[in-house]
């Protein structure tokens, strides 16, 4: 045997997946150690999209930061805006008018649908179903159009202000949102026809990347990835913000803790989001869109943490204000993608190369958010 070992390299095969790879959803690098096609270990290397956003925020004034939060989770910019603005409002005890809270709810849910569309498209594409990708992007386009009509931007909206909204909705916008809800409802059936009962899809996702609830909580998973493991945790329900306490919706959870259940949870979230949007638009109150905000925003000295439910999980802002300067003393973000990515080495261990891309898709990361200002550069397995 010794001679054979000398002749052939029987070590594990190490391959670099990324940072330039079609399905690592951006500049993620995964160093895989393979035994044949089986993954025996991996290192997740991040930091390729590091722009020091947290540090940058500490040298901008409070209103300018809204714009920077756009650049973190750039597929769900409005949610980031809301999260930040609410944190500052909490810090300054500003009352947000009811109309603004309703509109924030609508925007957050539209954003959730857009983000889930992108997730569904890329996730299905990774597993080889390329048509779903274009179908999902077709609907995402409609949402981007709605946002464009509201604030002029299609990706980085800068659509919130501390204390409310920068603009009221254009006339007729609410009707368009309702029309979109009807379209989306029918298109969802279309996606499900292509995937939910497709045998290949089932075989590719069932039993892949199982993570039991206790472990999911220990790792710090949040959002659909956590709910897929059966934990009924949704900040919209548990610590309601905006107008979530005034609308009815369910929190879907999975049972099998695998990729398929995470898929089902997100598909159901599409439906719940539509339900929330319909209720919020129909019950949209009249009134001002900005609360009583001082001309110069200078929160009193203190610190606060506030989290909201982004499409990917819990996005939290920890802000320290010293009460003297017009920019935060310390600005820190708890991004869902970063924390969820920690589960990746655990999830892909023992699976095949083909499952790696399915699992990266299944935890739904955005690298802009992962690299928002971290100091660690890799997760060892």
């Amino acid at each position: 045997m010794a001679t054979i070992d000398n002749q052939f390299d029987t070590n594990e095969l190490v391959i670099n997946m990324g940072p330039q790879h079609p399905s690592t959803h951006g500049v993620l690098r995964v160093v895989l150690r393979l035994d044949g096609e089986r993954v025996i270990g991996c290192d997740v290397v991040i930091g390729y999209l590091h722009r020091g956003i947290e540090k940058l925020c500490e040298s901008r004034d409070w209103t300018q930061i809204v714009l920077l939060t756009d650049r973190m989770d750039y597929v769900a910019a409005a949610t980031n805006n809301v999260g930040y603005c609410q944190t500052v409002e909490k810090l300054m005890s500003i009352e947000v008018p009811r109309r603004a809270r309703y509109l924030r709810t609508v925007m957050c849910e539209l954003q959730r649908i857009a983000s889930h569309c992108l997730w569904l498209g890329t996730h299905a594409m990774d597993i080889g179903a390329m048509t779903v990708f274009l179908y999902a992007f077709r609907e995402r386009e409609l949402i981007l159009d709605l946002f464009e009509e509201y604030c002029g931007a299609r990706l980085t909206y800068n659509s919130m202000r501390i204390g409310g909204l920068p603009l009221d909705i254009p006339p007729g916008w609410d009707k368009k949102v309702l029309a979109f809800c009807d379209i989306m409802q029918t298109k969802l059936t279309e996606y499900e026809e292509l995937l939910t009962h497709n045998r290949i899809w089932l075989e590719r996702t069932k039993g892949i990347g199982v993570i039991p609830a206790e472990e999911a909580i220990a790792i710090g998973l949040s959002g659909p990835a956590l709910r897929g493991s059966g934990v009924k945790r949704d900040i919209r329900k548990d610590e309601p913000y905006a107008a979530y306490d005034e609308v009815e919706f369910d929190v879907p959870t999975g049972k099998a803790c695998d990729t398929y259940d995470r898929y089902l949870v997100r598909i159901e979230e599409f439906r719940q989001s539509l339900r929330i949007i319909r209720q919020a638009i129909e019950g949209l109150p009249e009134g001002p869109i900005v609360g009583k905000v001082p001309r110069l925003i200078k929160p009193p000295a203190g610190e606060t943490y506030h989290a909201i439910e982004s499409p990917k999980g819990e996005i939290g802002y920890f802000i320290v204000a010293d009460g003297k300067s017009t920019s935060p003393y310390r600005f820190r973000v708890r991004p869902p993608s970063f924390c969820n990515l920690q589960a990746l080495p655990r999830l892909i261990k023992g699976h095949l190369v083909a499952d790696v891309v399915a699992l990266i898709g299944s935890i739904d990361i955005v690298l802009g958010e992962v690299d928002r200002g971290s100091t660690r550069s890799s997760f060892p397995s």
Partner: protein
């Protein structure tokens, strides 16, 4: 033939675009019909890169090994019977050898070497993984496909491609209806052998970044590309000959439908082949991709036993009837 292949690429892009509510190529010529010419010119003028650490000879030979078998298989595929054009007898096939089917199986399987060698010679990790996948996949599916061909030979009593079409004429039934199981296995196996979705593991773009042709560029890449499409056409035309009665019109023995006979045989042949090709594209646009182990399981645990059972049943029926 090569022209057919290049237009096949256009057809694929168009069909998939329509499925995906897009337009597909529109710029070159009306509705993009001249796109293949532009593609060929582009690929020919691209820089031809050979990686420094590649095995140069094998690296160069691999694309040729992949393409040539796919082209020479056409020698035995009958596009039509012997017809007279302006009083001259012209056979619409190149040759009719009495072991036609055997010839196809043996020549077509040489093409696999192209992929294996390409992956090996590239001296790169992703292509290597892809070529390992390709060899395992193609070998296991070839067993199933060849077993179905055996049952076709038993049914027709001949290995000549012309003979098989004539047998379908005499028995008055397309083998699609007489041998549905064989048809199914051949179809699935055909998808796998041509590396098409949902069995396109060796080139799985999302996993292996293009698979065995990752390191190839320019015309050498084009040869692989051509080989893939040529193989699709081969599989489709063999399927047409075996299961859809080749150049025969539908229901060849029913006199009432003899008006269909005014359409020449080769048009029927092409029509049927195109239906096959369309199904290939349709499947690709719809289905996700299998995983490696699932693919092997399907091949060895489902298709091969089914194929063997089919041979036994066919032979028994043949002896008894």
């Amino acid at each position: 033939m090569l022209v057919a292949v290049t237009f096949m690429v256009l057809l694929e892009r168009k069909v998939i675009a329509w499925v995906q509510v897009r337009l597909g190529p529109m710029r070159v010529g009306p509705y993009g019909v001249l796109q293949p010419i532009a593609d060929v010119v582009k690929l020919m003028t691209k820089e031809d890169i050979t990686p420094v650490r590649a095995d140069k000879i094998v690296f160069t030979a691999a694309p040729m090994i992949a393409l040539i078998p796919a082209l020479i298989v056409f020698a035995v595929i009958p596009f039509g019977p012997v017809v007279s054009i302006f009083g001259r007898e012209v056979a619409l096939y190149i040759t009719d050898i009495n072991v036609g089917l055997l010839y196809i199986v043996s020549v077509a399987s040489i093409g696999v070497y192209g992929i294996i060698l390409a992956g090996w010679a590239s001296n790169s990790k992703y292509p290597l993984l892809a070529s390992l996948r390709a060899s395992a996949q193609l070998i296991s599916y070839e067993v199933a496909v060849t077993m179905t061909l055996v049952s076709m030979i038993v049914s027709a009593g001949t290995m000549s491609m012309i003979g098989i079409v004539n047998a379908q004429y005499q028995q008055g039934v397309w083998y699609l209806f007489a041998q549905p199981v064989a048809f199914f296995i051949y179809f699935v196996g055909g998808l796998a052998e041509t590396n098409r979705a949902p069995f396109d593991l060796p080139e799985a773009e999302q996993e292996l970044t293009g698979g065995f042709h990752t390191e190839y560029s320019g015309m050498r890449f084009a040869l692989f590309f051509l080989a893939e499409y040529a193989n699709m056409i081969v599989v489709s035309s063999v399927a047409t000959t075996l299961f859809l009665g080749g150049w025969l019109r539908p229901f060849p023995n029913i006199e009432a439908l003899s008006f269909l006979g005014i359409i020449p045989g080769w048009i029927w042949f092409l029509l049927k082949t195109f239906i096959w090709l369309y199904i290939f594209l349709w499947v690709r646009a719809t289905l996700p991709r299998y995983r490696y182990d699932q693919l092997m399981r399907l091949g060895w645990k489902v298709l091969i036993p089914l194929a063997i059972a089919n041979v036994i049943i066919t032979a028994t029926v043949k002896v008894l009837v």
